[in-house]
Symmetry: C2
Subunit: 387 residues, 2 copies
């Protein structure tokens, strides 16, 4: 709130008004180093997904350079990152004709190489027509449906793939390559299954690239990625670049999958104990679903973390203490059902950190990150939201 | 996105970039008239909860006057509404000592009568001490737990109630009254059960007011409310004011409870069809959980609406067409499982309106309302988010 302008730009932890969003810088940077090292060893480029953080301060610490490359999920992100110097972006949500004018404006205003994705003849024709009309060869990736979870051309549908490729390559647009996202990997947790998902994602993309090339079409880029498959991949032969986003912060869903450890989770919501319901074994905190998000992703995993796992002010998790339920601005904290853990005796005004189920969803509830070095607030990084 | 500055301030519907948030003004105003008339007939004051809309434009159309009264759930809302002329507010989340300085600053900067709520001796003592130290008699409501769903003093705990009352009345703070919120009513759907919940909410508050008065303590205000109980109440004898928020927009959860009809829902997310997965019977739209929120409140009701019910561009619902699943910026639209409905043949670029599960959660994903008169955009009302 703006009454906090009476604070220094970087206030001590105790002076932060709750709820607010903490980013543990050491964990974040370790997560980034781990992924970058892993992908370098696999010999592929890295195109981080910037939708998780929506912050240029974060992006600059994750990308190869201040100019990118990066991936975005909205035109608002595209414009923000382009305005902040990122020059190589993929807008990785299926393009529609109505979005070509604003996308073209971002490309020309900022001189950004922004590619789009599509999975139909209709989209390819519209893109080609727009490119011809505006004298801008917009690069496009053909989206491949590697695991049936959402969008894309089925990898076995060579006819459609080639038809789209011919329209892009033969007209005024540009065929940049193929792209897939193994979103189905979020449902896994066994390392062997995750490696198999990474292999399947790679194979779908590489096979489609071969089909295009065999038809005489160019396919310079073969883009794959999700945090679980990027983490578990051990052979990305034929792939040129990997996209992933949530790895940079980690979260409880990724910990449940095995893509990170609980100790890697860099994001938490700082909250204050505002009440006790001792007869019920509850603490009430001032972080409800508005702060934590409504994401209940761990509800489908073997360890259900409620609306989040509760740690002390320094970030050490209490045994089995979770947010059992949430209203808009209230979190109901208690011991995980079935565990024998005791409710810690936290007085009114005590501060806790709550690890989120899903970093992308929780971060989106806030306008900035309070950047932490241990228990010291060392910086504030703004982020964008909306469209 | 800011490239839309090339549009008129109020663009035609076709020029809105999707996803965006539509507010049907006629439905909104009808919902407000209905609630105001109902509460006037019951002889109680109305203190609408402003957390649903977080918009002064909305608030001014719901409150008795531009000065209030109103209810807020965060200090950010308190400051925003106070800065916009609202002078009579309750911050209806348990107060902690750390929040008294910013709260006091809002009170004195804007000359607002802002009351707090609390349910413990410790909070009452802290408030009394702060009031004495700052020469500000902060008014407080004792929160009553009328249905066991969250916070408050148990209505049968007269000893605690009186102990808190004595501290507030005997010290430098002010005992304003009692307040309760029957949040458990959200789990109901039978009108008789809802009327019983409204009676129980009233009885808990009125009983506690009597206990305080019998102990020689003042209790001028008896504040109750939730959208379901406010809607179904038929006797509020002893109650002085009602709080409710979501009624103004309505949503699918409230329709499932019976607090509104589907035709009363004033809020929707405008989205664009960005892809087809015909073999699976899916349409892909550009409103995922970031736009719709992760709220799955209808998942616990007899009719599960997925992530939202899909209507055409004019607001007419397609039979049994729902958002089956959602990723960050993708909604997967299909026919409700088990229904015999057909998938409407919506082409790429077609626009749909998606009715939300929970108005408070969905609205919070946006920075403004596109105000609609039928299919014409007639205004834009900004809203706040965050803390």
């Amino acid at each position: 709130m703006s009454t906090s302008v009476s604070f220094d730009p970087v206030p001590p932890l105790r002076q932060l008004q709750t709820p607010c969003l903490l980013l543990d810088q050491a964990r974040f940077e370790r997560n980034v180093r781990r992924m970058r090292t892993h992908l370098a060893q696999l010999g592929v480029s890295f195109r981080p997904h910037l939708k998780t953080a929506k912050s240029i301060e974060v992006a600059r610490r994750v990308m190869d350079s201040a100019a990118g490359p990066g991936t975005v999920s909205t035109l608002r992100e595209a414009e923000y990152f382009a305005a902040n110097g990122v020059r190589d972006l993929i807008y990785a949500v299926g393009i529609v004709p109505e979005k070509l004018d604003p996308l073209g404006a971002i490309r020309s205003t900022h001189g950004a190489d922004m590619a789009v994705i599509l999975d139909s003849v209709e989209q390819a024709e519209a893109l080609s027509a727009w490119s011809a009309a505006h004298g801008q060869a917009v690069p496009a990736f053909i989206e491949i449906d590697s695991d049936g979870h959402r969008s894309g051309v089925a990898p076995e549908d060579a006819e459609l793939l080639i038809a789209i490729g011919r329209i892009l390559d033969g007209g005024a647009a540009e065929l940049r390559g193929v792209l897939t996202h193994a979103g189905g990997s979020y449902a896994l947790h066994d390392p062997a299954d995750l490696r198999a998902a990474a292999d399947a994602e790679r194979d779908a993309a590489v096979t489609c690239a071969r089909v295009l090339r065999a038809a005489g079409l160019p396919c310079p880029a073969v883009s794959v990625g999700s945090t679980p498959t990027a983490t578990f991949a051990d052979d990305l032969g034929g792939v040129t670049e990997v996209r992933a986003g949530v790895f940079m912060f980690g979260d409880l869903v990724q910990a449940g999958i095995g893509s990170c450890a609980e100790e890697d989770i860099a994001l938490s919501v700082l909250a204050t104990v505002i009440g006790h319901q001792s007869a019920k074994g509850w603490l009430i905190v001032d972080a409800g679903w508005m702060a934590l998000s409504r994401d209940r992703g761990t509800g489908r995993q073997s360890v259900d973390q409620g609306y989040g796992l509760v740690c002390d002010e320094t970030g050490r998790a209490y045994p089995d203490l979770v947010v059992l339920d949430a209203n808009q601005e209230h979190g109901i904290v208690g011991v995980r059902p079935g565990s024998g853990a005791a409710l810690p005796p936290l007085p009114l005004g005590a501060r806790v950190r709550i690890l989120p189920n899903h970093a992308c969803a929780t971060a989106a509830q806030f306008g900035r990150y309070e950047v932490m070095d241990g228990t010291a607030v060392v910086d504030r990084w703004p982020r964008i939201n909306g469209w």
